[in-house]
């Protein structure tokens, strides 16, 4: 193998694949990226056996070939080299690859390419073309609510639904559920529902960047997301995503509106005196205003009141402040609508400007008993 790659191309792709490699280093080969040079490109692959990413960048190939190199180390090296430089990769010595730029010369130890696991391929499975921007937005709107608890692995991902002319993503950790749907003009999707594991979601966001279309397919055991330059594969997760339709359909009879940033800032200020563990705050919606209150037995209490459009009966409800902050932070809208029922029922939050229709973003949050 003897190739020349532009530093910027290599950094960008290494950035994507280094998120995949095994952090614990339990299996040495999984810390490495597979480099394959052929035609006019260099492909880089990494896998943790559950999720794999392959990225292809342009290269001047003098001599084709394949090898594996420690992904993180290679990323560090290439990043450290001067911008705009050309990088020469050459395996001229058994067990090593030399990485050269103008003045610097590295000799990096390799592992045998045959030790690298074979990555799953779509093998003619039927592909669905999705707009990459839509996927990216849906991930941005919902991925924060994916559970980080491993105990309920079936919640540990995002549910992707393509149906008719809509693409939907739903996430939940059992306490809250976030739902986002976008309409794709002119699309006619066959219905498909898949659970995308958390780690794959994080990668998918990167894979979609700068792309126009992403092709999605599933095989017996894998999900595959492909763009012309990148491929993400993920093992299918067993388990039933909870029935979210009922949760999403819920309505609260007490409806108020307020400025998103006012609510968000107030939450950040007031929650400073909520207990560290529960982050509990009390939200009181009364005619014309919302009051937030937090108290911690050891530290004291905090109250903030701000204007809201509301004319109904007063309602008090406890929430985890962080859960509210999470949602409000991914919105960009000026106003947010709050639907409540009573202190025991879920709160429903969505951007006020959102019209009833095919695109929607909705957050359902269970209260805390204070």
């Amino acid at each position: 193998m003897e190739i020349t790659v532009r530093r910027e191309d290599l950094v960008r792709d290494l950035q994507v694949i280094q998120g995949i490699v095994d952090r614990r280093g339990a299996i040495a080969i999984l810390s490495n990226a597979l480099l394959v040079a052929s035609n006019d490109s260099l492909s880089l692959s990494a896998t943790d056996l559950d999720v794999s990413v392959k990225a292809v960048c342009p290269a001047r190939v003098k001599k084709g070939g394949a090898t594996t190199l420690p992904a993180r180390k290679l990323h560090d090296i290439v990043k450290a080299l001067p911008s705009g430089s050309d990088i020469l990769l050459r395996d001229d010595e058994e067990g090593f690859v030399s990485v050269q730029s103008e003045r610097t010369n590295y000799k990096v130890a390799t592992l045998p390419k045959d030790d690298f696991p074979t990555l799953p391929e779509s093998k003619g499975a039927q592909e669905i073309a999705l707009p990459a921007a839509v996927m990216s937005r849906l991930i941005g709107k919902t991925s924060f609510a994916i559970t980080v608890e491993d105990a309920r692995y079936y919640l540990g991902g995002a549910l992707l639904i393509v149906h008719g002319d809509t693409v939907t993503m739903v996430t939940t950790d059992g306490h809250r559920l976030c739902f986002a749907r976008e309409k794709v003009e002119g699309a006619k999707f066959k219905e498909e529902r898949v659970l995308i594991p958390r780690k794959a979601i994080n990668e998918l966001k990167q894979v979609t960047e700068g792309e126009e279309t992403i092709f999605f397919s599933r095989t017996e055991n894998h999900l595959i997301f492909r763009t012309p330059r990148r491929t993400l594969t993920s093992k299918l997760v067993e388990g039933q995503f909870p029935a979210h339709e009922k949760v999403i359909a819920a309505k609260g009879p007490k409806v108020g509106q307020t400025k998103r940033t006012e609510l968000l800032d107030a939450l950040r200020r007031v929650s400073l005196l909520s207990t560290e563990r529960s982050r509990a705050i009390r939200l009181t919606m009364k005619p014309g205003e919302i009051e937030l209150h937090a108290s911690s037995p050891d530290q004291g209490e905090a109250v903030e009141t701000f204007a809201a459009e509301y004319s109904g009966e007063q309602v008090d409800i406890g929430f985890n402040a962080q859960y509210l902050i999470d949602f409000l932070s991914v919105l960009s809208d000026a106003e947010v609508t709050i639907e409540l029922k009573d202190s025991d029922a879920q709160g429903i939050f969505y951007p006020t400007s959102q019209k009833d229709g095919d695109s929607m973003h909705r957050y359902v949050l269970m209260p805390m008993r204070l």
Partner: protein, 402 residues
């Protein structure tokens, strides 16, 4: 409690026994400026009393052993005693670190009359803390308080209903609350020396409204309720003392399981769930330790309580035999995050507990028992049905049931 601080020090330092012991400020050879907190009965013979300047105490009793108070120690013991009170009634109003009012009206059916409860409490305090307490039993707080002070140490004075006034009458007025040395002097000028005299006197105008209150007290009229300050329960716990110190791991696990079941039942009965599970462990040398672990979500599920408690037990249990095991749950007041899908997927253990409650309610306590309760400590089936057939045969191998 009798000479509480001093009694604690005497208990923990046997060499003090028989000597005058004075707990309070440093006397600094007679130049100290603090006061006496407590003097033991030996020291009281020298005229030393609480609230007396420590320098005076030193003058009266220079040979006394002066000790500065160890409040954290006394508070811990105070909590132990409080727990004993709470075993008899939940209406406990602490007056100070070593005094409390108990309303046992509702406990009489369970534990016997006031006198019986008083004796039982005294006995438990003695057995568990090696300290003595004096108890007054009466229909009102004031009378009970005065009665408890009358025969210290280790006293028990019962004032039967209807005899309150007669009981108070011969006592000096100083015994009443609200009568200090000044008031005593004023009353003495009016020829009032005993409580009975005050009760009958027509002098209340001279003493103002305060006089009316005093006269009411003097007549034994005191209807203030015992107010428990504890509010909602902060913890619920159960414990078991083995008849013989227990070393068999099977038997110990079984005991824990029974405790977890019992605790779960009590928590569910009060609709409580807590995040923190505490294991109380006392070994054969009487060394007692407690160990706690907090979970993410509050629980009252028997299987979860058992799991946490046995985890703690495994960490603490060594080669010594066990005298006592207890499990407690606390952390009820913390905000609880509710779940979206609770109705659809209640916790497995919670459903089993609920079913068990229902079966027992319908068919009796013995209708549904744990397989482990059907065997004896050696793992043999022990219990039999009324006809003498071993119960185990119907329920499968208990060893697999775990």
């Amino acid at each position: 409690m009798d000479a509480f601080y001093a009694a604690v020090e005497e208990r923990d330092r046997p060499e003090l026994r028989g000597k005058p012991v004075i707990i309070g400020a440093d006397p600094k050879g007679g130049a100290g400026r603090g006061v006496v907190s407590t003097a033991n009965y030996e020291a009281r013979k020298f005229g030393v009393g609480s609230a007396m300047p420590i320098s005076t105490a030193f003058r009266l009793c220079p040979q006394g052993v002066f000790i500065s108070p160890d409040m954290s120690k006394y508070s811990a013991i105070s909590l132990e005693i409080r727990a004993i009170f709470e075993a008899f009634t939940d209406l406990v109003e602490p007056l100070s670190v070593d005094e409390a009012f108990l309303d046992v009206t509702a406990s009489v059916r369970l534990f016997g009359n006031g006198e019986g409860i008083a004796r039982a409490i005294k006995a438990r305090i003695k057995a568990e803390t090696r300290l003595t307490a004096s108890v007054g039993v009466a229909s009102a707080k004031l009378i009970a308080k005065i009665a408890s002070d009358l025969r210290k140490p280790d006293g028990l004075v019962v004032v039967p209903p209807g005899t309150e006034r007669a009981f108070l009458a011969p006592l000096p007025v100083r015994r009443l609350w609200g009568i200090g040395p000044k008031m005593e002097e004023r009353l003495a000028k009016l020829g009032i020396h005993t409580v009975g005299q005050l009760a009958d006197a027509k002098v209340t105008r001279l003493l103002g409204t305060h006089g009316l209150d005093l006269q009411r007290l003097a007549r034994g009229e005191d209807d203030r309720p015992v107010v428990s300050d504890s509010g909602p329960a902060k913890s619920v716990s159960v414990e078991h003392t083995f008849d013989v110190d227990e070393g068999n791991p099977r038997a110990l696990r079984k005991a824990l399981l029974r405790l977890a079941d019992e605790l779960s039942r009590r928590l569910r009965a009060e609709s409580l769930a807590g995040r923190t599970v505490t294991l109380k462990y006392r070994d054969e040398t009487f060394r007692t330790t407690t160990h706690a672990r907090s979970g993410r979500a509050p629980t009252n599920v028997a299987s979860e309580l058992f799991e946490t408690a046995s985890g703690l037990f495994d960490d603490v249990h060594g080669s010594l035999k066990v005298r006592l095991l207890g499990i407690g749950v606390s952390g009820f007041t913390e905000p609880v995050q509710r779940g979206l899908f609770e109705e659809e997927s209640p916790r497995r253990g919670a459903r089993i507990d609920e079913l068990r409650d229902r079966v027992r309610e319908k068919f009796g306590r013995e209708a549904l028992v744990r397989a482990s309760d059907l065997e004896d400590e050696k793992g043999q089936e022990g219990r039999r049905d009324p006809e003498g057939h071993p119960l185990q045969a119907r329920l499968g191998n208990p060893r697999k049931a775990r």
